[in-house]
């Protein structure tokens, strides 16, 4: 890190001086009101919003920066009034905020050609649709051209501002881009920043970065080969570029600060069996390691070709306590995607969405987090019938049928999805121009992903019933049901027995692990063959997202010794109070299931005390844990270096811990910026020490 980067960090991250350039917030619904009064249709509105936002943005160029663009409009205008939205919600299924989000745009579709060429391409498509008599298509394509024009005008204003402040580097970039394709790595980075910024201005969110090391490598290589850049200079450029992801991120919508979907995916298996990890991948990791910022969030695609030094470099990053990289195993993910019907060449391109869900760049409009199934909820619903069951299998069958019923309900709820048009995003998705069809209406793949929460608690509950009620007959079913109804009041001994002495998932104990495998199989079975409203399929997953708190809230006491309302563990991990023997038993337990069938996404998370990362030798041994999990057949893993004392102290003295970064569910955030309920959950996760 040189002084230039240090200065940028001080200015943007520590002092947040750039926020002084922010304009007064607009009323989020004022533009929508105008649109409604004018009777504008919904297609036009999406385009008009971007044009309006860009025209209201004030270009800000700092004298020494090499990559510009800053958000000055704190609020993005809505295009539907609240009343219109209420009507839409009655008629349609609105996912999250009703915008296209959480997909991976093909930035290179614009970056590699420039706007001039793209406008020509659209003009040709317009001719074609005119001959077909497709008036709507023609109107849509013309709207896409206006979007490109507006961005070009915005870029021109940036060029003028750069000239005004005497920043020739930025002025030169905007002379070339976005009109024409970038000549240098720097221009490519500036182009990306422009596109990414405009996506946020379009109210598209969770704009994932995807395989940056693959689509940017030609520009990087060009500069290196031509001698325009040294490796160190390239590193500094990348660092400045990475800082850009953190400038406006407090304005991005998300469940909590930090949940903004800026996931970057590095490495991965090529179709020919070679490994795509390259010089740029390594440089990205080094930049992230030096900067110690929560964005972009680094994800590594790993496979049997991944070298030990890459795992070790990843572990160095984990040591910093940023909560990433997150690892995804190509050897599970790719076959899983192919099994779900993705074409082979698409499956090999997979990236992760905002958290960990598998998505395909350019061709997929999957809604990967459409809803969540509560495994533990299924067990709770079956409990009243427990005393009537003669055998454990009777009870298990009942749980299964409840699970199937719930899955059917969840799927039905997702019918009739609608979203706002997304013209800019459509310019970066395959086929939208040739078909004159907006991405919000669907893409090649339109599959829905469903999370599965409380898996370990459900497996523990069933294992407790199976061993203690049916096999050992130590507990009477009626007594157990009464105890649960009373939330263990006057049954404290029973609670302690269930909570601490019954088998728990995470100890390489087949009595529980086999039940978890079964639950996941039931989940996958119940989705098999189901079609969604867009002709896609449903994908089962092991993720929880925020459902680990939502599903647990108000859910009664459970046979694993859990109290009413007590939180589930996050994603694919042992219950919060399970005593786990250690990391080896843990990874053995969590690699037994048929993960290929439940590969929507959701990592095993392991918290390791930060002293395990003390020296290079121990770091390599921790790295071996990641590799071993993948060899065992794990799909996703995410390690955290934690220190509970530090987090407890941070709750008391937040001012001393402004930079303490933690992993929340699929993303990292600053500990002191999280709501207390999330802080407490993180503190309660079990950590392994040396």
């Amino acid at each position: 890190m040189n002084t230039h980067i240090q200065n940028l960090l001080q200015f943007f991250i520590v002092d947040k001086k750039h926020t002084e350039y922010r304009q007064k917030p607009i009323d989020a619904y004022s533009l929508a009101q105008e649109f409604a009064t004018q009777g504008k249709d919904y297609v036009e509105r999406a385009e008009q919003r971007l044009l309006w936002m860009l025209s209201h943005e004030q270009p800000v160029v700092f004298k020494d920066e090499k990559i510009a663009i800053l958000r000055t409009m704190p609020v993005i205008a809505e295009i539907h009034t609240e009343q219109e939205m209420a009507v839409l919600k009655q008629e349609y299924h609105i996912h999250e905020l009703g915008k296209v989000c959480n997909v991976n745009p093909g930035y290179s579709l614009l970056l590699d050609v420039g706007f001039e060429q793209k406008t020509d391409e659209i003009s040709k498509a317009i001719l074609l649709h005119q001959t077909k008599g497709d008036e709507d298509g023609v109107l849509y394509l013309q709207s896409l051209q206006r979007v490109l024009d507006a961005i070009q005008q915005f870029a021109d204003r940036y060029r003028a501002e750069a000239e005004r402040v005497g920043n020739t580097v930025v002025a030169e970039s905007f002379t070339q881009i976005p009109r024409r394709k970038p000549k240098t790595f720097l221009q490519a980075l500036q182009f990306f920043r422009l596109l990414h910024f405009c996506l946020w201005e379009s109210y598209n969110y969770h704009n994932t970065i995807g395989r940056f090391d693959q689509y940017m490598i030609p520009y990087f290589q060009h500069d290196m080969e031509m001698g325009l850049l040294t490796r160190t200079e390239a590193l500094h450029l990348l660092e400045e570029f990475f800082i850009g992801f953190n400038k406006d991120s407090d304005l991005y919508p998300g469940m909590q600060q930090g949940d903004n979907g800026q996931s970057m995916v590095l490495g991965g298996l090529n179709e020919d069996g070679s490994d795509a990890f390259n010089d740029l991948s390594r440089l990205c990791m080094e930049a992230s390691l030096e900067l110690h910022l929560i964005d972009p969030k680094i994800n590594l695609r790993v496979n049997s070709k991944t070298t030990d030094d890459v795992y070790a470099l990843g572990t160095q990053m984990t040591k910093q306590g940023m909560g990433f990289p997150q690892y995804t195993n190509d050897e599970i993910a790719i076959p899983a995607l192919i099994r779900w019907g993705y074409a082979e060449q698409d499956a090999y391109q997979y990236v992760v969405a905002a958290c960990w869900e598998l998505i395909i760049p350019r061709v997929a409009m999957d809604i990967v987090n459409v809803d969540g199934l509560s495994f533990l909820g299924c067990v709770v619903d079956a409990l009243p019938s427990l005393p009537d069951c003669l055998h454990y299998d009777d009870f298990a069958d009942l749980v299964r049928s409840i699970l199937e019923h719930k899955v059917t309900e969840i799927c039905a709820k997702t019918a009739n999805v609608t979203m706002e048009y997304a013209p800019l995003l459509s310019l970066m998705m395959d086929g939208c121009i040739s078909s004159a069809r907006d991405i919000s209406l669907g893409a090649t793949y339109n599959n829905y992903g469903i999370h599965g929460t409380g898996l370990s608690s459900a497996a523990d509950s069933l294992a407790a019933i199976k061993t203690l009620v049916f096999e050992q007959k130590r507990i009477d079913a009626k007594t157990l049901v009464c105890a649960l109804e009373a939330n263990w009041e006057d049954y404290e001994d029973l609670r302690a027995l269930m909570r601490f002495d019954a088998p728990k998932m995470g100890n390489d104990d087949d009595r529980v692990d086999s039940i978890a495998t079964q639950l996941l199989d039931w989940f996958a079975d119940s989705l098999e063959g189901k079609k969604n409203d867009r002709g896609g399929i449903f994908r089962a997953g092991t993720g929880s997202a925020m459902y680990y708190l939502w599903h647990a809230n108000g859910l009664g006491a459970t046979p694993d010794g859990r109290d009413c309302g007590e939180a589930f563990s996050c994603n694919f991990s042992p219950s919060l109070f399970a005593k786990v023997r250690g990391p080896l038993s843990l990874i053995s337990s969590f690699s037994k299931a048929n993960l290929i069938r439940v590969a929507n996404g959701g990592p095993l998370t392991i918290e390791l005390h930060d002293t395990m990362f003390r020296n290079q030798e121990s770091i390599e041994k921790v790295a071996a844990m990641v590799k071993t999990y993948m060899q065992m057949g794990g799909m996703q893993l995410q390690l955290n270096a934690v220190n509970r004392e530090k987090m407890l102290d941070a709750q008391k003295h937040p001012e001393k811990y402004r930079n303490l970064i933690v992993r929340v569910w699929g993303w990292s955030g600053y500990f002191v910026e999280l709501d207390k309920v999330y802080q407490d959950h993180i503190i309660s996760r079990m950590e392994f020490s040396l």
Binding site: A496, P583, K621, Q631
Partner: protein
């Protein structure tokens, strides 16, 4: 036969080459003032209570067969089961040698693939040498390391060392009197066993817990270096600077931690005495 184990740690990264599973055997003949595993000293199971978050529900007292008198505690475990916050634990689980071995054997493949194996630690693992010998005898194709104080009868020491692949031995202080004062025993057995170890042909590491003003003098380091000079299979000397958290577990045993030296002083971890004699030295 049965042996008493107070912990099994998986994916241990500081207990020998590669990735290891470390078994902590209970019982130790020494009484080192700085011991950070006090629950490893007694050869019997013990009750550990962390009462910081105790809600005083008295459930433990109601089930105690000894009227909750800690002096009479036999670590029967009655109170462990009823504590709603699970603040009570028994340090010390009896294992049949065969069962412990099969648990470890199950992990052997992964440990071997990661250049590691099983490490026996303590307490003092040689304190239960018969049990240890039986466990090792059951293990097949597993790399065995031992972490020992070296305080054992030479016959026992030699017998077990011959079964191990890698030895991590402490050499706390060279002066017999200081050793007696701070460890409760003098060091003649340790030095005798060290003589054997140096000629055993087995790769070994010497560890020195560096305690402020007890053994962190240049004189002690020089004497240690001298006795190690020329040992062909010595891998390196490792200095373990004293950590103030050492006293954390005493209260859980109902004991007081009285280290008898100045905890606040920074220990001197100067490796030059070793490096001067060509002995590689690491600081953890």
């Amino acid at each position: 036969m049965k042996g008493l184990v107070f912990d099994i740690k998986e994916w241990a990264v500081f207990d020998g080459p590669g990735v290891r599973t470390t078994v902590f055997l209970k019982g130790c003949p020494l009484r080192c003032a700085w011991c950070h595993n006090p629950e490893g000293i007694s050869p019997k199971p013990q009750l550990l209570v962390s009462d910081a978050s105790c809600i005083h529900c008295h459930a433990c007292e109601q089930v105690c067969p000894h009227e909750a008198n800690p002096v009479q505690c036999t670590a029967c475990g009655a109170c462990v089961a009823v504590c709603p916050l699970h603040l009570r634990n028994i340090a010390g689980t009896w294992y049949e040698a065969k069962d412990l071995a099969s648990l470890l054997q199950k992990q052997a493949r992964v440990l071997k693939a990661n250049g590691g194996g099983v490490t026996f630690s303590g307490g003092e693992p040689l304190y239960q040498h018969m049990f240890l010998k039986e466990v090792i005898g059951y293990l097949d194709g597993v790399h065995i390391a031992i972490e020992t104080s070296g305080h054992a009868q030479p016959k026992v020491f030699q017998d077990i060392i011959s079964l191990c692949d890698y030895i991590l031995m402490d050499l706390k202080v060279m002066d017999a009197q200081i050793h007696q004062q701070y460890c409760g025993q003098d060091n003649h057995l340790i030095l005798k066993n060290l003589t054997f170890l140096k000629q055993s042909g087995k790769p070994f590491v010497i560890r020195i817990p560096v305690i402020p003003q007890v053994n962190d003098t240049l004189e002690n380091f020089e004497k240690t270096a001298q006795v190690l000079e020329g040992a062909k299979t010595l891998q390196y000397v490792e200095l373990l600077p004293y950590q103030k958290v050492a006293g954390a577990k005493y209260q859980m045993l109902g004991q007081h931690y009285r280290p008898g030296f100045d905890e606040e002083r920074k220990p001197n971890v100067d490796p030059t005495a070793f490096e001067r004699l060509g002995i590689p030295c690491r600081i953890l």
